[in-house]
Symmetry: C2
Amino acid sequence: MGIIERKDKHKSNLRKQILAAAKALFLQEGYEGTSIRKIASAIEYSPTTIYLYYREKNDILLALQKEGFQLLRSRFAILSKVDNPLERLKAIGRSYLQFALENPEFYELMFVMKEPLKSLEKGLQKEWDDGKKIVESLLFVLEGCQQKGYFTGQDPYYFSIMVWSQVHGLAVLYLHGHLSYIVKKDTANIPESNALVDAVFERFVHYTSMESRENTV
Amino acid sequence: MGIIERKDKHKSNLRKQILAAAKALFLQEGYEGTSIRKIASAIEYSPTTIYLYYREKNDILLALQKEGFQLLRSRFAILSKVDNPLERLKAIGRSYLQFALENPEFYELMFVMKEPLKSLEKGLQKEWDDGKKIVESLLFVLEGCQQKGYFTGQDPYYFSIMVWSQVHGLAVLYLHGHLSYIVKKDTANIPESNALVDAVFERFVHYTSMESRENTV
DNA sequence: TTTTTATTTGAACAGTGTTTAATAGTTTTG
DNA sequence: CAAAACTATTAAACACTGTTCAAATAAAAA
């Protein structure tokens, strides 16, 4: 059965090649610049061949989305070193925002675009596993906070959505250029806007009583 | 000069006709379903004619965006009846979220899509006047709060971006179907999800010390 | 070597935003 | 009134897009 194995290997290789080409295009040219024809010409195959390995374009986007989630999760994994759950929660928030600003195209794919999820609905499973894990890790840290006496008596489910909404909203407003139209003076360049996002997040930390003063009460 | 006036009237009429057709298509079929050819056939003109009244498609989107902003501002205007600035701030937040959930296509156009702003960059003015007014009204109410002793010592600029990010993030996560994958049980239907958005916003109100308990301190 | 099977692709369909050049319709001028 | 000038409109084309069908090629089995 060595022949079949070789075939399968070729098949999975081509699948990976398609995905790699799609990823390169997506990160360089963005969503607009990632067409089936461009992916095909990058791997020197005909556009029709793509459809033998991916049912539709959204399937490729979904696969790329998955890569993005793994990337973000690997960043979160590092933060497990932080013992204090409250500090870890804050670190997750900062890490999330940093990821969004550093990987705008990935972030778009993961949390903004509807297309990848469309493919999910058509497919076998209806569960958004990778996205779920991200929010679950937030929930986990939050429950850790409650065990240490923070945010007690609050539903961690609603609280996690609140935190997620805060960082997501901030990221999207900035990435889509809706913040640059209201920034003070002429601070529309990247480093200063990064500082803006940081500053706003710190305000959020302050107002949600995530500050260390709560630690001593 | 009656002839020239008649001509101008015809011109502005056709402009309005195009916009009305585009609006109808946009609200019914969404962005995807709003093509130049469809707009043209709706007003029974050729696609080329559209370009005599709008430089590009994004110009039409920008005009529709403006209508959306006026709609939202008219909703905010009603809230001027609320005398207490803190209550008005909360009412604005709820009104904003309600608008987003009730007018998903408009919201997309106003605060998510990049396309309308692209047209703005190409045009004469680089200022996003209509969007600015929305955030300015938030800033105004916030400063009213500070005059009454709420959120003192805080930069109203950062605070307003924080509040905006919170409601925006919540709206977008919900509208783009990213919340429905994490909702408890099977509460993916509209009315219950509305309640979810409300509940999360109330948590935000609580955590930012916008609750009435702050009133009596 | 022929038949069967797996893999790849050219061509086409139905769209998209946009531009160029040609055509009708109207007004002004000689 | 006829001719020139100007305005409004559009047919056709360009360069794309995602996707599908049937034909062609390459590889394996009989």
